[in-house]
């Protein structure tokens, strides 16, 4: 009897059952009665209209969707950490390079001698004019 009812219970749920076991179960009057009761239980159980309050459903739905949108934007933590590290490293390298460049330029300015003249212009004053009496 129990075995028959278990077979019918599984059949009711769409599970695979042995055909011979099903035949034997259906030949059993008590098992058939049990099957009817199982169906009745199902009908009552599925007559379910419980639902969360509409206010809750709307609020929770919005909250979940907002969190989902944020989650899609979120960059994986290791990737974000790597990006920050790279930015810091890059920034400090640029800084070092600029400092080094400034230092080189300053030292060059200190060491280099003044430029050599490429040509010399000489001004020779003309001799005093005798006709003007030296004025």
């Amino acid at each position: 009897m129990d075995q028959h009812l278990e077979t019918l219970s599984a059949m009711l749920d769409g599970d695979v059952v042995d055909v011979e076991a099903l035949e034997a179960a259906l030949a059993d009057v008590e098992a058939r009665r049990g099957l009817v009761e199982f169906v009745r239980l199902r009908q009552v159980a599925r007559d379910e209209s419980a639902a969360p309050a509409p206010v809750f459903a709307a609020r929770a739905g919005r909250s979940v969707e907002r969190r989902r949108a944020l989650a899609r934007l979120r960059v994986p933590l290791p990737l974000a950490a790597a990006a920050v590290l790279l930015a810091l490293l890059g920034g400090s390298l640029i800084d070092i390079k600029w400092l080094a460049f400034d230092r080189d330029q300053a030292s060059r300015e200190q060491v280099q001698p003044p430029p050599q003249p490429s040509r010399v212009l000489q001004f020779d004053a003309p001799p005093p004019d005798s006709r003007t009496g030296g004025r």
Binding site: R33, E37, A45, D47, A50, A51
Partner: protein, 162 residues
């Protein structure tokens, strides 16, 4: 990865019904329903394609419910909350009897019955949600039916079917 867009709309009522029947409190069932979806978003990367979205969500709900019971250090008292729309008096009386009987079932059997009969999951989905074998689920549902059948005053009992 599951399509998380619209997931709440698709499944929140089923999840709520499961939690309501397992916990017995509307307010707590609502809070935990929201928590299920928030956890699902966090765990979306761990979703495996071989499982159905529904079974995966119920697995989260199952774990959440167990956590809840563990934190409470005992199974919370069950009450036969009836949210159903008013139906025919006979049907309503039968329904109240069913909910009362359901509240008295052992946890595993109640869970298997609710997932199969109220929510409509398959044995495979229930097994996945509850981390059990399909044979165990089949057996739990059968035992639940036998106990509910004994409690309910089913009108067909005693009538000849032959």
């Amino acid at each position: 990865m599951p399509t998380t867009s619209g997931m709440f709309e698709r499944h929140h009522i089923a999840i709520y019904r499961y939690l309501l029947r397992m916990i017995g409190s509307r307010e707590r069932a609502e809070e935990l329903t929201q928590e299920v979806f928030l956890r699902a978003l966090k765990a979306a990367d761990s979703y495996e394609e071989r499982s159905s979205e529904r079974a995966w969500l119920f697995r989260i709900a199952h774990n959440l419910r167990l956590d809840e019971a563990r934190h409470a250090r005992r199974t919370p008292p069950m009450s036969a909350v009836d949210d159903a729309e008013p139906s025919a008096p006979a049907q309503q009386a039968l329904r109240v009897s069913l909910l009362q009987a359901l509240a008295m079932l052992p946890d595993e059997e109640r869970e298997a019955f609710v997932l199969a009969e109220v929510v409509g999951l398959s044995y495979v989905e229930i097994a996945e949600a509850c981390a059990a074998t399909t044979a165990a689920i089949r057996s739990r549902i059968y035992r639940a039916r036998m106990q509910l059948r004994a409690v309910l005053d089913v009108p067909t009992a005693g009538k000849p079917l032959a």
